[in-house]
Symmetry: C2
Subunit: 182 residues, 2 copies
DNA sequence: ACTAATAGTAGCGAGTCGAAACTATTGCAA
DNA sequence: TTGCAATAGTTTCGACTCGCTACTATTAGT
């Protein structure tokens, strides 16, 4: 097996897995984009729930992200909150109905669970490599969780973000931040 | 790391990789669906290039596949050929313009190439496991290449398909077949 | 000969996609 | 302080995907 065809095989497998996963998601109440946006909002911290952050994370434009968020808002799965300090910015918080939808497990997650511990770990590692390389390739942000960020400082009450200069609770530190940096 | 959160991590990585790859593909002349359909047609053997086969492979409906193929046809990247033996069925063959488009390598393939030999192999293996499990989950076909099929018989001139009862050339045997079975 | 099954298509409504044009703020510098 | 420029978000456009249902041919099986 040459290096070239191995690349092609992996590319095909990823494409195929993508299509199969998307097809599964269409069977649910939301389309794949809406599901991805909702899932992101459920894991992003309160500084990372604006349309532009969603656009960045989903690798799309602000315009498209805005539309998807409006669609989710019409379905009352998320609720918009306007900022007091900056009248331009908006934060979308997930509602309890939105959280309920995320509880339904997909066909893909069921399949991932069947992998043994070691396969699972190496798969996670190589996927992480690919995602990071893709992000670097397009100049995107890493979007990691606070506690793995270089701006995060552990305190006795929880944590502190040195960039935004705000204290963080324990649950905050486990959420995704758009300012995340390694 | 519990088994549950590891599953979620992998799911997120796959979703993210999917979005990043799709975003890359939108920069090209085709949208992700059209690209996937065109790519499939370039690798499928002559018995596997009908709209219903494309639908099966892309995990979508015949209606949707039909539309995508019409869009590719309008762009003259594929050309329809009606069958003589069965007046209902149609085969779409890729044109030289279509082949040219497939030559442009994506950002993802560049990234995959940076993986070392061993990582690459284990990634391919685990992805294969996932795809096969997903196919089984939804009752889909495996769509492998002829030479790995149980109906394939090697002859001195090339190969022979025992199911369709037709001789196969060397290049035929390396293409994807919708009747593929393990 | 009469059904059923199969192959493909058309049209519908909701929604995605990038791109471009647009409004409303906020930041910054002369 | 005024005067841009940058930023946040939205709207609209045209092309398209998506599942779905209804539809037309054609072929297969009884």
């Amino acid at each position: 097996m040459t290096a070239f065809s191995q690349t092609r095989v992996i590319q095909d497998l990823i494409d195929r897995l993508t299509r199969l996963n998307a097809a599964e998601e269409w069977n649910g109440p939301l389309n794949p984009s809406q599901f991805a946006a909702l899932s992101y909002l459920s894991r992003a911290n309160r500084f990372s729930r604006a349309p532009s952050h969603v656009a960045d994370y989903l690798a799309t434009t602000r315009g498209t992200a805005s539309q998807t968020l409006k669609a989710l808002s019409r379905k009352e799965l998320i609720k918009e909150t306007r900022s007091d300090t900056d009248k331009r910015s908006i934060r979308y918080d997930i509602t309890s109905e939105g959280n309920d939808i995320l509880k339904t497990t997909s066909g893909l997650s069921g399949v991932i669970e069947t992998l043994d511990q070691e396969t699972s770990q190496t798969l996670a590692d190589s996927l992480k490599t690919l995602v990071l390389a893709m992000l670097q390739h397009r100049g995107g942000r890493s979007f990691g969780v606070c506690k793995t960020c270089r701006h995060h400082q552990k305190t006795d009450t929880g944590g502190y973000c040195q960039l935004l200069e705000v204290p963080l609770s324990g649950s905050d530190a486990g959420q995704i931040c758009h300012e995340h940096a390694l």
